[in-house]
Amino acid sequence: MPRIDLPQGTLDLLILRTLALEPQHGWAISERIQQISSDVLRVQQGSLYPALHRLERRGWIKARWGTSENNRRAKYYELTKTGRKQLEVEKDAWDKLTVAVAQVLGTAQG
């Protein structure tokens, strides 16, 4: 199955959603996004980290160093309170957008 690249701006939403389950390090986030999306979405791994740093600076996620599943030091990210709110806001916006786009497409077909 061909993978599709992430639309602009949706990476933040996916990261927040992934971290809503449990704190994770960068590699696991990218793995998780791919697994959940059944390997359809491809996250350009190089662009994941700038996004994480950006979210951290905005205060939506915070980072701490922990021990990974293979006993290595790894940087774990977790959602903050404001990040949780932000996730709701972005999810809402996303839902509205997809509904709207679907409607437009549906109308155009009919």
Binding site: W27, Q45, G46, S47, Y49, P50, R57, G59, N70, R73
Partner: protein
């Protein structure tokens, strides 16, 4: 907000830690990915390869992370600065030339701005000076139009009625008085001011007090306020000065105050109370300063003044349109005359800076070609284009800041030189000129802007090249667009230099023309001594005539003086009395007015004014003899065309009685009275011995023709004057100096603009040289091939000359067109030269072309000596 700041600070100050963490984080990711692939059955090498490929550029990701943290900006600027300093340090020659060029440009701008800031921009040194304005209600189109003022009559009425001003005050400009009680007699500038003057300016004397309201009344008005500088120079800063007596024009006045240091408004050294009274016949017009009430705008004040002007009764022959109500910033009283000159200089010096910018941009372009490899490498390693542009801009800004720092030094030295060049007494507010924070801020500002202006184009250019191509060519490839850009820069340089050279040429030509004007007299070896006889000592015309007669007799007896005389209004002396007269049996053409000097016998000979017909005055033309006059040639021609003027009669009275008729006894050459540039003025001379009005006798200039060395006679002249009246201040000036003073302004403008033009010419030559030398260096191989194929040195020379000529001609056409548009601003400074003067343009074009060819010399020689073998092997 705080978190954001904390993140930024952490990244700046704990840079190492943040960087290590970033490294570790990314490393962990890659290793984890490799692990996954190895578990999936890949070899270790294959796993690493795939992991890296999927990840993309690690350096790029790091860079983006730094950006994302938002700390990257400060961090990378610091990094750029460090890197820039290192790069510039590695090319000391390049750096030195660039810094020097910029220092010249920025320095010249800083110097001119220092003067502009002091003279035009800095506020008047009074509290809330922005609320001080001049009130002016002058007649439109009259001889006094340029001088803001209000007639005494209007002043008194307006002061009663106005609502816009807290206070208003009237004062005199340019009055002088003889100070006789402190050391040698000296003539000093004095301001007669109404008693509201100091309160209006809200400036009180530092010692003592200002004037009381009743001190304008006669009998109580013998008081004076001194300037701090005069108090120090003439009274040794005497702490007990208050109450002491000072003699001004022979009148004793008691000192009531000493102003704070630096207070000299309006260019005075002492202030004396002025009583405004309305006289039936004459009405003085004086400047009036007002302090606007809080909340009143100058526009509202103007509206009030307009209403006032409309309500005023009109004088005979006056119409409403004749009056011009104006509210003018106070500073304009002092600086209105010099503003146009200063603005021209500011414009000219900006051109110099632009040329410097073009030059340094060219240098940068040349260097960028050599750095193509470096740029390509950095961009492959993940540096974005914006990052590279910023790096190059940081370097150019560093350079321009260094140039600016040197420029401040240059300005520091050149401001005094600039002021020394300026005509004495023609630069107002000189005491305000200094390098203050504004000047430094200005220099900093133009340095940064300069750095960006000359750095931007080369920066984009250098980072535009195709990475792969450059890398494979090992950075030696040069694009045609690169060379086009350098050509364009050089053309604009030439055009800018041409505009400056043309401006300087036009002014220079005007100055030379003005110098060759025949003033109608011969000024060489003539000394002048001007006296102002105070009313208090010389009460009658007879007393004044006695002073003049004694002085003249004594001067005539001096050795080495072939001729001497006296005149009340010296030609080019800055005074003019134009008047009407009646012609016996004829009619004076309407509007024909004449200058009416009173002279002594011998004046024409002393001044070398040619007697064309009849005779000059003699000692016997005195008050008992019949009235006589000598007319100038243009008067004779205008009144009695084709007739002998000698024997004709005129009168200075409007309705002459029989004894008022004066007989013409001689005709002399016309003299330029007002200025060399303004043409000859018709004059009717009268013998001073027949003048009965003290007004025409109190101010007198003695002119002494000396046989050989004027300075040997000067001592004798002093002795004579001291023996006649020991209280007279004596200042001797040669007529040559006085004439030079009238052309000093034009000479100053011409010199300064020439200096700017020369700097720009040198920079332009350097620029042309740079382009050609670069072009030769780049084409070494091409030249080598051509020579190997049989081309001669002359062909190479021809190729370079063609290139130089194309650039120069393009610059000349572009510059010529701009000069035609821009030199129009010089029009009012020019004398008998049109702004579109063809010969000036031609001369400038020739100078530029020759300079361009000269700039070809070194590169051409280098090109002609290219050894084909070496050149080919080089590639």
């Amino acid at each position: 907000m705080f978190r954001d700041l904390w993140h930024r600070m952490r990244a700046v100050f704990r840079r190492k830690l943040v960087e290590t963490e970033l490294d570790e984080e990314l490393q962990f990711h890659l290793e984890r990915q490799v692990e996954k692939y190895v578990q999936g059955g890949l070899s270790k090498e294959e796993a690493w390869r795939r992991a890296r490929m999927e990840f993309g550029g690690v350096e790029l990701a790091k860079e983006e992370c730094r950006d994302a943290r938002g700390v990257n900006f400060i961090e990378s600027v610091l990094q750029d600065v460090r890197y820039g300093v290192r790069t510039l340090g590695k090319n000391p020659g390049f750096t030195a030339v660039a810094v020097l060029t910029l220092a010249l440009g920025v320095g010249a701008n800083t110097a001119v701005f220092t003067v502009v800031n002091g003279v035009l921009l800095r506020p008047m040194p009074f509290p809330e000076a922005e609320r001080l304005v001049l009130v002016s209600l002058t007649p439109r189109g009259g001889p006094f139009e340029w001088q803001p003022g209000v007639s005494d009559r209007d002043y008194l009425t307006f002061r009663e009625q106005d609502h816009a001003f807290d206070r208003i005050a009237s004062f005199t400009l340019q009055a002088t008085a003889n100070l006789t009680s402190a050391g040698d007699p000296v003539q000093i500038p004095v301001a007669y001011v109404t008693t509201d003057f100091f309160p209006t300016l809200r400036t009180n004397p530092a010692i003592g007090r200002g004037f009381l309201a009743e001190e304008e009344e006669p009998g109580r008005d013998s008081v004076v306020v001194l300037s701090n500088e005069l108090w120090k120079e003439r009274f040794g800063a005497d702490p007990g000065i208050l109450g002491k007596t000072v003699r001004l024009d022979g009148i004793s006045r008691s000192v009531v105050g000493v102003m704070p240091p630096g207070f000299a408004f309006p260019n005075a050294r002492v202030w004396v109370p002025l009583k405004i009274r309305v006289d039936e016949h004459n009405s003085f017009t004086r400047p009036v300063v007002g302090r606007l009430k809080p909340g009143v705008t100058p526009q509202q004040a103007r509206a009030e003044l307009e209403t006032f002007a409309e309500r005023q009764p009109l004088g005979p022959g006056e119409s409403k349109r004749d009056r011009r109500p104006q509210i003018i910033p106070l500073k304009d009283l002092l600086v209105a005359n010099i503003r146009p000159s200063l603005l021209v200089f500011t414009g000219a010096v900006a051109f110099v800076l632009l040329i410097a910018c073009a030059n340094v941009a060219n240098l940068f372009l040349a260097r960028a070609a050599g750095r193509g490899h470096e740029m390509a490498l950095r961009s492959t390693l993940g540096a974005g284009r914006g990052r590279l542009v910023r790096q190059l801009l940081t370097e150019s800004t560093l350079l321009s800041l260094a140039g600016g720092a040197c420029g401040i030094l240059i300005a520091f030295w050149s401001v005094p030189a600039l002021l020394a060049l300026a005509p004495a007494g023609k630069v107002p507010r000189m005491e305000m000129i200094r390098m203050d924070g504004w000047v430094l801020a200005y220099t900093f500002g133009i340095s940064v802007i300069t750095g960006i202006v000359f750095g931007l184009a080369p920066a984009f250019h250098a980072t535009r090249r195709d990475v792969r191509e450059t890398l494979s060519h090992a950075g030696r490839g040069v694009t045609a667009s690169h060379e086009r850009m350098r050509g364009a820069l050089t053309v604009s340089e030439i055009a800018l230099a041409l505009v400056l050279l043309t401006g300087a040429g036009l002014l220079l030509k005007s100055f030379l023309r003005l110098r060759t004007v025949n003033p109608g007299f011969s000024p060489h070896t003539v000394l002048t001594i001007t006296v102002d006889l105070p009313d208090s000592t010389y009460r009658t015309a007879a007393q004044m005539r006695a002073f003049h007669a004694r002085t003249l007799a004594e001067l005539a007896r001096l050795p080495g003086v072939p001729a001497s005389g006296a005149v009340n209004l010296l030609p080019l002396g800055g005074f003019l009395t134009m008047g009407t007269f009646q012609v016996e049996g004829g009619r004076r053409p309407p509007g024909f007015m004449v200058d009416k000097p009173c002279i002594s016998p011998g004046y024409f000979r002393a001044m070398g004014i040619q007697l064309l017909r009849g005779r000059e005055f003699t000692e016997t033309d005195n008050e008992t003899a019949p009235g006589v006059v000598v007319v100038s040639q243009s008067v004779a021609r205008t009144l009695w065309t084709g007739q002998d003027p000698v024997g004709k009669r005129i009168s200075m009275e409007d309705e002459p009685k029989p004894e008022d008729w004066l007989t013409v006894v001689g005709v002399v050459d016309d003299v330029r009275q007002r200025g060399l540039a303004t043409g000859s003025d018709p004059a009717i001379y009268q013998p001073y011995l027949q003048i009965s009005s003290a007004f025409f006798l109190s101010h007198m200039t003695f002119v002494v023709k000396t046989a050989s060395r004027p300075e040997s006679v000067a001592a004798g002249i002093r002795t004579v004057l001291r023996s006649v009246d020991k209280n007279q201040p004596i200042s001797i000036a040669s007529m040559d100096t006085l004439i030079a003073a009238t052309t000093a302004e034009l000479r100053f403008q011409a010199r300064l603009l020439t200096a700017f033009a020369m700097v720009s010419l040198v920079l332009t030559i350097v620029g042309i040289y740079g382009v050609l030398a670069y072009s030769v260096a780049q084409r070494t191989r091409e030249i080598g091939v051509r020579m190997a194929l049989g081309a001669q040195g002359a062909d190479v020379l021809g190729m370079l000359l063609r290139k130089a000529l194309v650039l120069t001609l393009a610059g000349i056409f572009l510059g010529g067109a701009s000069a035609l548009a821009l030199t129009r601003v010089l029009e009012k400074f020019l004398f008998e030269v049109k702004p579109a003067d063809l010969s000036t343009y031609a001369a400038v074009a020739v100078i530029l072309t020759l300079s361009a060819l000269a700039a070809c010399y070194v590169p051409a020689r280098r090109g002609m000596r290219v050894d084909p073998m070496v050149a080919l092997r080089y590639e």
